[in-house]
């Protein structure tokens, strides 16, 4: 690696040198009168500098990826030496520097040329987003395929037992995990959607300016709190309280980590999410519709229930779907609040587990990347990704479509 940092420094130096040399040359070419040049000397410098830097670093990045791929598929190759990669990078930079300098002349349109390189950079940055998605899908697809080669997919999707055993012979059925995920998310939504919705309605339609200026930021504060904090809250406060005051007296169980614990705390986390989304949507309903309803003699609450909410309904449904996707993908609250036992049960005071919890537990610690017990995490991840992606796309589609109606 140290070879690479040395060559990177050298490329940086070449780029800087290119900038200054090209600037001076441009000044020389102009013969003291910069009006004789088509482009300013600084533009000449910028072009030659970029012409050296970008091919240099681009070559290094490309070769590093090619080298890793080569090792992955056909074993160590001749590229597996940092000085070769660094050397090629430096060579590319030198070539860029020289060709850049050769292109200089009085009529050279350096600004257009330099901006060409800058657009390349801008486009490359936008492509990172696509590459990320591609990386997510590819990495999980490959490992999932490996998993299904050693484990029957029917057992994965339709078996109701989850008992991984690192010595082999494990049952890896996703159903209990899915059930836990859905159960917890459902409790979280049942708790957060009415509260978030009513909070948003009250704040936007009824609250005085003073109350709004205090309550709105306070609720939004809940959104800025990291999920690990909610997790600890579930573990230390909510879990034991639910166990001592509800589960044990009612004889429903004596576990502090339960579906209810995780669901309630996740509900708290989702309140600001639901309320700020519905706030936007309720505010987007045109005032004329409210005025019309009030003018016909409806009370304020009747206006809200019979005019505003129906008009905002698609947006609210979208918000709920986004909240559901958040709940399904949430990790730390369930890791600390829901427990690790995979079971199919209806009792909300029992410990259950979710897809995300099992991804964490199968991939932390010493793992062997060839056993189905580890690879199953990628299949779980892919399932999770597909589920949340579906919810997100549906929600975004609904929200967008709705927004167009009133704009």
């Amino acid at each position: 690696m140290s070879d690479l940092s040395l060559s990177s420094l050298l490329i940086l130096f070449l780029g800087g040198a290119g900038y200054f040399i090209a600037r001076l040359r441009a000044a020389q070419l102009s013969g003291g009168d910069s009006r004789a040049l088509t482009a300013l000397p600084a533009q000449h410098g910028l072009f030659v500098g970029l012409n050296a830097l970008l091919p240099g670093f681009g070559a290094i990045l490309l070769l590093l990826i090619v080298e890793r791929m080569a090792v992955e598929w056909s074993g160590p190759s001749f590229l597996d030496r940092p000085w070769i990669i660094g050397g090629v990078g430096i060579a590319a930079a030198v070539v860029g520097l020289v060709t850049g300098l050769l292109r200089q002349s009085r009529s050279f349109r350096a600004r257009i040329a330099a901006e060409g390189w800058i657009s390349v950079l801008l486009i490359a940055a936008s492509v990172v987003a696509i590459l990320t998605t591609l990386g997510i899908v590819m990495s999980m697809l490959f490992e999932t395929r490996a998993f299904f080669q050693s484990y029957d997919w029917r057992d994965f999707f339709f078996s109701s037992t989850w008992s991984p055993n690192f010595r082999g012979g494990s049952d890896l059925g996703i159903l209990p995990l899915l059930w836990g995920t859905i159960y917890i998310s459902l409790i979280a939504l049942v708790f957060s959607v009415p509260i978030g919705l009513f909070a948003a309605i009250y704040l936007s339609e009824y609250a005085s300016k003073n109350l709004r200026s205090v309550a709105k930021p306070a609720i939004e504060l809940l959104a800025g709190i990291p999920t690990i904090v909610y997790g600890l809250f579930a573990l230390v406060t909510v879990g034991p309280a639910l166990r001592d005051y509800f589960a044990q007296p009612l004889g429903w169980g004596d576990s502090a980590s339960s579906v209810m614990t995780a669901g309630l705390v996740m509900g708290i986390m989702l309140i600001p999410f639901v309320s700020s989304l519905s706030d936007d949507i309720i505010n987007a309903v045109p005032q004329a519709m409210r005025d019309g309803s009030l003018g016909l003699g409806a009370t304020k609450s009747e206006t809200i229930r019979q005019v505003v909410i129906p008009a905002a309904l698609p947006g609210i449904v979208g918000a709920v779907l986004l909240a559901a996707s958040r709940a399904i993908g949430e990790t730390m609250i369930v890791v600390l609040g829901a427990g690790a036992a995979a079971r199919l049960s209806l009792n909300p005071f029992e410990a259950m587990t979710t897809v995300t919890v099992k991804i964490v537990s199968q991939l932390t610690g010493d793992t062997d990347f060839n056993s189905p017990e580890t690879l199953v995490a990628f299949a779980l991840g892919l399932t999770l990704f597909v589920m949340t992606l579906g919810l997100n796309i549906l929600a975004l589609y609904i929200v967008r479509k709705y927004r167009e109606q009133y704009e």
Binding site: P226, V229, V236, L389, L396
Partner: protein
């Protein structure tokens, strides 16, 4: 039904409707009350559990350092002296405690071994480091504050009581009585605990010594990586999408893609990091570089969205004016639009960074839960930049919740307080920036 009704008397149906109105308002108030109560409860729970971790119980002891035990060779060479392990230093501290108790006239109701449990298991290591750093101390005595054990510390913080001590293998009611007497004599004091913010993590048996030093350093390194990668890439991407991109299917795809990436569960980024950066890229597991890369990818869409909004809010007249005096499109963007959008972009960046700082799940998957005692170097000799194993603040919280000793719950809550203070500072900066530079056109 009576034929006449009066405006002054509500009929039954109006009364019903008004009651429904009042109920509706009441629901709204209840919803606000529940959310605020949840916030208060959360903060009270965390601060109530965690504030005490910033104070720690110390014993001030005068320790004799006999040459016969610590440096038999007499050459005062740290390399030779380091053969004496912490086991050799522990009795010195116990003896110092016994001497102190005799001096104060405190009755010795415990065996030497049980008395030693009053002192932290970390204390001999502290003493050893002091001696190895300055061998000339040997033969004399030094007075130094050493950590009291977690149970004694818990006693003064109200976590351990006489009843719980009676059931505990690691302490006893007698030890607590002695500790109380030592405290009355001023030997045992509770004061602000800098070690909590600077010391590395400690093992299961010594919660009193556990600190956040490595975690804070690891989080700092990751934030540097995120800032260095996510900021330029996000700004460049939003400039391209907002200012240059033609409206076609490709850019539409990129836009939908970014909106989706912002909503992908964070744990999925952890899987990505594990598969791409560690298994494929062969970067070091648990290194802040991999953590920073994963968090950068995760933060990217979350910065692009506000950055695009900031660029969009700059009025087109600014661009037109620049183009009108002969600037190229690129110049109009970089010289005029970008500086005007900078405060908005920066606010988005800070909020994105704050989210990244609090993120835990992806870091668990790339191995940052490891137990790390050594401070990570930024440029380690033997591996890539930011390649030393480290932990991060939120992961340290998770790590401590998995330990058996309840003293670690206090530590975890304390770590969250530190995390929340960092987050609050970042958000405050974002709010101030917005107030100071926000422009309405």
């Amino acid at each position: 039904m009576t034929a006449k009704s009066s405006l002054l008397v509500q009929d039954k149906r109006t009364a019903q409707r008004n009651a429904a109105e009042r109920r509706f308002i009441w629901y709204g108030k209840a919803a606000i009350a529940v959310s605020l109560a949840a916030l208060v409860l959360l903060l009270v729970s965390i601060f109530g559990n965690g504030l005490s971790s910033y104070r720690q119980t110390f014993l001030t002891l005068t320790v004799e350092l006999p040459e016969a035990k610590l440096d038999k060779s007499g050459v005062r060479d740290p390399a030779v002296m380091s053969k004496v392990t912490t086991i050799g230093y522990a009795p010195l501290l116990t003896n110092a405690l016994i001497a102190k108790m005799e001096e104060l006239g405190i009755e010795k109701t415990l065996s030497d071994k049980d008395l030693a449990d009053i002192i932290s298991k970390e204390a001999p290591a502290t003493l050893r480091n002091i001696v190895l750093a300055d061998p000339s101390l040997i033969g004399g005595t030094i007075t130094l504050p050493v950590l009291a054990s977690g149970r004694i510390d818990g006693f003064f913080k109200g976590r351990v009581s006489m009843e719980s001590a009676a059931l505990d293998n690691n302490t006893s009611p007698e030890a607590l009585v002695i500790a109380q007497q030592l405290s009355d004599a001023g030997v045992l004091t509770t004061r602000f605990n800098w070690g909590f913010l600077t010391a590395p993590d400690a093992s299961d048996q010594r919660p009193e010594a556990a600190g956040l030093g490595v975690a804070i350093l690891g989080s700092l390194y990751m934030m540097i990586v995120v800032l260095a990668l996510a900021l330029p890439i996000a700004v460049a991407a939003s400039i391209y999408l907002e200012e240059f991109a033609p409206k076609n299917r490709w850019t539409d795809l990129i836009e939908v893609n970014i909106a989706n990436l912002a909503a992908v569960p964070s744990i999925v980024y952890g899987i990505l990091g594990l598969a791409i950066f560690i298994n494929f890229g062969h970067l070091n597991q648990s290194s802040p570089l991999v953590g920073g890369l994963v968090l950068s990818l995760m933060t990217l869409p979350r910065i692009i969205i506000p950055a695009r909004a900031a660029l969009k809010s700059v009025p087109p007249s600014i661009r037109d004016a620049a183009l009108g005096v002969g600037a190229s499109k690129m110049q109009s963007v970089f010289h005029h639009v970008l500086p005007l959008a900078a405060p908005g972009i920066l606010t988005g960046v800070i909020i994105g960074l704050a989210q990244a700082l609090g993120e835990t799940a992806p870091l668990l998957l790339i191995g940052m839960v490891a137990f790390v005692r050594d401070y990570p170097a930024a440029f380690p000799d033997s591996s890539h930049i930011f390649g030393d194993p480290a932990t991060a603040l939120p992961v340290q919280v998770y790590n401590w919740t998995q330990r058996a000793d309840p003293a670690f719950v206090e530590r975890a809550s304390g770590a969250i307080i530190a995390l929340l203070i960092f987050l609050m500072a970042m958000n405050l900066v974002a709010i101030l920036l917005r107030r100071r530079f926000e422009r309405r056109w």
